[in-house]
């Protein structure tokens, strides 16, 4: 899956977590807080992404995520290593 596809999928997951959120306003630099995601929403978002992309987030590293771009980059990196294994 290329970056645009990963980003689109992550945005789609985020849009289901927050009521009345316009998905077109979400971009890579959007912060979870600003989008209205609480800590449980973020955990659920990572879970959705793990299922969809067949990866596992390192929980220590995931604690540092604050933007949409953080998640997308992590998936990009680990998706390829998962595929090459």
């Amino acid at each position: 899956m290329d970056t645009a596809e990963i980003e689109a999928k992550v945005v789609q997951f985020i849009a289901t977590k927050v009521e009345n959120l316009d998905a077109s306003t979400i971009n890579r630099s959007s912060k979870f807080e600003e989008l209205g995601l609480d800590s449980m929403d973020t955990i659920q978002l990572l879970f959705d992404a793990e299922d969809a992309f067949g990866i596992n987030f390192d929980s220590e590293e995931a604690k540092g995520f604050s933007t949409v771009g953080d998640i997308v980059s992590y998936i990009e990196t680990h998706q390829s290593s998962a595929a090459s294994q």
Partner: protein, 409 residues
Amino acid sequence: MRVVVTGMGVVSPIGIGVDQFWSAAVNGVSGIKRITSFDASSRRSQIAGEVADFDPSTFLSQKYIEQTDRFTQLALLAARLALEDAGGLDAYESRRIGVSIGSGMGGFSTFESSALRKFRNQPVPPFTVPRTMANSAAAWIAIKHGFKGMNLTSSTACSSGANAIGAALDLLRAGRADVVIAGGAEACVLPLTINGFEILHALTTTSNDNPAGASRPFAKGRDGFVMGEGAGILILEKEEQARSRGAKIYAELAGYGQACDATHIVMPDMEGQIAAMREAIRDAGMEPDSIEYINAHATSTPLGDTVETRAIKNLFGARAADIAISATKSMVGHSIGASAAIGSIATIMALHTGTIHPTINLDEADPECDLDYTPNVAQKRSVRTGLCNAFGFGGNNASILFTTHEGRD
């Protein structure tokens, strides 16, 4: 102080909303079909009363669907319908609005699917615990509507819904709330629960090819219950306050009785059933002679229906034959913690409309079951008092007594 019912909401295998439910019940419609929520073809019991046309996305956003188990979703819809029926509760201060819900298994669907993932070494969904916990239905009703008063959950197996309604009566009488959203919810048409009840020989296994005829309380040859699901919610208020806000009043919740067998974890006990019914009647300040209708627990198990019949005959004596009785489970199956809440709505509608819904599939009664169970066809009969029975695993027996509002003056 009197407590009255001012709103009702029901989500059942024979209809969503009281109008649809009651019309189907009076017409003896069965909601039992082959199980669709999972592949049950290898099970001995392959049928259930599922709420087939339930779609949570019609009233919940994707976020809430993700965070809630099906039993909570059923409860949320029933609560919404009941609140609409009651005309809203804007007259009340939010800290004085309580919630009291019963569920035998809670979010068991979530538990089962998360456990399956765990055993497959897949990540466990983050909302596993908040979806599974038994009080999640009560909590979500509070969250969705801003009800900040007492928030309780009764988990007493098949009597959960009756205990939750009884607890609501206690809360109102004790002055701990001015209005209580009370009832029960269950969603356990699941591989593990079906298997679990099968292994206890509690489910019928002889009617997979005739689902509509499977649940047959009091009938000769019955061989077990049919799993059901659903939710029933009542809005309970103090009479004075209901009147002052101009609410319509369906019935009075006049009495509640509970008794534990303290004998066996799953076997019914006649003495406990008698004690619960007697206490509900005493609690209402009435005598057994004044009872005119009984919505029986009657699950269609060989032992249970016989014991309940004996309990009724023991308590009411010769008058037992004159009491109109019916078994809602003959049409909707056994929805465990929701069953008494749905049965309560059937009881209230019997008082309210003067119609007793039938016990279907009762062509030939068991010789040991020889009371008037309203076989197959609804009866027009004006009744002023109705007991709703609920007897559960754990030796829990509960009985609640409704009266027509005028019947008590």
